[in-house]
């Protein structure tokens, strides 16, 4: 009863003013990230990107004040589903954003979108939610997970005939390898998967030398990937067998890899060398605030705020009108770190994918753009029934 009265009162008072803009309460936005656990650093980056845009705009999106309710899903799907319940039932948020791990995405996607709450992922983009499981209420500002290795396969075409694949033996390792195999047209001469607990790759590196492929494609979680790259360099192989990879080498890990990374080619959707005005502005602001280089999750987090800003402005703050807000999000946005953000039928971005390489420039090391593949769509969008 009290709820009805308060709704009436709020409704009347809103009606009495000149529209929702003047005396509106802040728009509530739920934010879920894996701040503790193995993906902690990624989640922190993702949030800082989002937060940086908010700080630059006095805590407003689309000109309307917002209240961000930040929650830690701890890389645990069961924790994430409870947080979703809390955010939707208790806090009554119309929008949930963030989402770091693919496992978290798989756990929260249905509970959020089934209730017609908007899900703006600035991190995870696993294949099931890009294909048959797509939802009109879920939008993605990073990339579909397989794209980062598909672009490496495209890059390798025509350059290398025989490639050896080496990856950690877990779901992401297999998915990334599958992405490379989907687009690479040459021969895979050897495919090897190592245990996730194995930190030393001496046996595999000897194997690579004997197999002597034209290039090697590797994928490991960050710490292992850095181990591998350093050991590969110690064996002196960088000069003879080019290393192709994705996922762990970026502006952030480069300072700890230095010479070991020089010449390594890596597929990604963003690095600091991507040449857009927003990218440059983000780079400057981030370096000024944190005194280090931003990684790609910073850009995806930042772009999620740019998207929300544009969409909220289009509906004049009225996010409760779900149909209008959905259409406003679908329009995408200008001014993201990757230029104009456009959405495919499955609400994943149609965007440029890049191959970057680490190079030494005097005493400095930096990631430079080697090749750009414009207008890339993910491989699952045909399976999505959305128009």
């Amino acid at each position: 009863m009290r709820k009805i009265i308060s709704t009436v009162v709020v409704g009347l008072s809103l009606g009495a003013t000149t529209g929702p803009a003047a005396t509106q309460e802040p728009i509530k936005i739920g934010y879920i990230g894996d701040f503790t656990g193995v993906a902690g650093a990624l989640a922190e980056d993702q949030y800082e990107g989002f937060n940086l845009f908010l700080e630059q705009h006095d805590g407003k999106l689309g000109g309307f004040p917002v209240r961000v309710i930040r929650e830690d899903s701890q890389w645990k799907p069961e924790v994430a589903t409870q947080l979703v319940e809390k955010l939707i039932e208790k806090d009554q948020v119309p929008i949930i954003t963030g989402i770091t791990g693919s496992n978290i995405m798989m756990a929260v996607h249905r509970p959020i979108t089934e209730r017609k709450v908007f899900l703006i992922s600035s991190g995870a983009g696993p294949s099931p939610v890009a294909g048959k499981g797509c939802s009109p209420y879920a939008f993605y500002t990073a990339r579909q997970a397989n794209q980062i290795s598909e672009v490496v396969g495209r890059y390798a075409n025509g350059k290398y005939n025989n490639v050896m694949i080496l990856a950690a033996n877990y779901q992401a390792g297999k998915d990334v390898a599958a992405g490379f195999k989907r687009t690479f047209e040459g021969t895979i001469v050897e495919e090897n998967y190592t245990a996730l607990t194995q930190p030393d790759f001496s046996a595999e590196i000897a194997q690579i030398q004997v197999t002597a492929p034209d290039a090697v494609f590797v994928f490991f979680p960050p710490a292992l990937g850095i181990n591998f790259t350093r050991q590969y360099h110690q064996a002196g192989l960088n000069a003879t067998i080019p290393l192709l990879t994705t996922g762990f080498l970026d502006d952030q890990s480069l300072p700890s890899l230095k010479d070991a990374a020089v010449g390594v080619h890596v597929g990604e959707f963003w690095m600091s060398s991507v040449d857009t005005p927003a990218s440059k502005a983000l780079l400057d602001a981030f370096k000024k605030k944190f005194n280090r280089m931003p990684a790609n999750y910073v850009a995806a987090g930042y772009d999620s705020a740019v998207l929300l800003d544009a969409a909220i402005r289009r509906v004049n703050g009225d996010v409760a009108n779900q149909e209008a807000f959905r259409a406003a999000l679908k329009e995408g946005s200008e001014g993201t770190t990757r230029g104009k953000l456009r959405f495919n039928n499955n609400n994943f971005p149609i965007q440029s994918m890049y191959v970057f390489a680490a190079e030494k420039d005097g005493g400095d090391y930096r990631m430079k753009t080697v090749e750009t593949f414009p207008d890339q769509q993910d491989s699952y969008h045909q399976e999505c029934p959305l128009p």
């Binding site: 245990a195 607990t197 030393d200 001496s202 192989l237």
Partner: protein, 306 residues
């Protein structure tokens, strides 16, 4: 599958074995002489690596930071034994396991507070950063250095244990602890000494592994599992057992990882082999351990003769 590859993989196995030996030598004595299950041995390895990385970043000298890191872990080991673990000698195994497991958590959290969650890196010393061409394959000289340093330490241990009076006490302690206490040897001193030296050896292993691996909280646990396999296989309390056990485990593990997937691909459907190959390779050493224990329950080179 060429001879040169087999030779290179044997060398890789040897290098892993040497690292495992450095870790096992101390722990096998602690378990043998003091009857003490110290799960925190892996933490000492981690501490050695962290101290070396921090000092290396400060001083720039690998040798100096290695020596100081070994000394540092020796001190940590000494304090640990004196202040805490020596109080737990008489009690049941379960309490020892609980206490040392707690220590693992404390140490991991402590390094996380000091150095953060992100991995720390240590560069290879300049004079060892090249490669050596061997059997037609290039091999990092640093890995050779590990083998040589490990063998030297092994030789030193052998001499110390077989040719000195303290070594005699240690050997006697491993065989029958009550008897040597009854004969008037200060077993408490022997305990402390063995524990501190064991800690220093684990620290040394950590230092040597530093430039190859990323140094991060919890890095000691995966290797501790291998070390326990080595100790049980070689015979608890036996240095000789730890040496041969470590070499065999290192070589079996490496050779298994290197060749089993290819062999399975030749025998099985490629799709099944791709999944099963790494899985079988990673359980190989446990199969080996189970086989040894079934045939020789006291390990390959038991210290206690009953």
């Amino acid at each position: 599958m060429s001879m040169s590859l087999i030779a290179a993989q044997l060398l890789n196995g040897l290098q892993l074995g040497i690292l495992l030996f450095l870790m096992s030598a101390g722990l096998t004595l602690v378990m043998g002489i003091m009857n003490f299950a110290n799960l925190a041995h892996g933490s000492l390895y981690m501490i050695g690596a962290y101290i070396a990385a921090a000092l290396h970043a400060m001083t720039g000298s690998f040798v100096v930071s290695a020596i100081l890191a070994v000394a540092g872990t020796l001190v940590v080991g000494y304090l640990l034994e004196r202040l805490l673990l020596s109080r737990l000698y008489g009690v049941e195994d379960l309490y020892q396991v609980l206490a040392t497991f707690g220590l693992i958590l404390v140490f991991n959290q402590t390094v996380k507070i000091i150095w953060g969650q992100a991995p720390v890196f240590m560069s290879t010393p300049e004079f060892l950063s090249g490669t050596v061409t061997l059997f037609g394959l290039s091999y990092p000289s640093y890995r050779f250095a590990i083998i040589v340093a490990g063998l030297l330490v092994g030789l030193g241990l052998y001499l110390a244990i077989n040719r000195t009076r303290v070594g005699m006490w240690i050997r006697a302690g491993a065989s029958d602890r009550e008897m040597i206490a009854a004969l008037g040897v200060n077993i408490r001193l022997v305990n402390t000494l063995v524990f501190a030296i064991g800690a220093a050896l684990a620290g040394f292993a950590g230092v040597m592994a530093g430039p190859i691996l990323s140094i991060q909280p919890g890095m000691g646990e995966p290797i501790l599992v291998l070390v326990l396999v080595v100790i049980v296989t070689g015979g608890i309390g036996s240095i000789r057992g730890a040496f041969y056990g470590a070499l065999v485990v290192g070589i079996v593990d490496t050779i298994g990882r290197a060749f089993l997937p290819a062999i399975m691909r030749a025998l099985l459907d490629p799709e099944i082999a791709r999944g099963a190959g790494p899985a079988v390779a990673s359980i190989l050493i446990y199969v080996f351990m189970a086989t040894v224990l079934a045939l020789k329950p006291n390990g390959l080179f038991p210290a206690k003769y009953r």
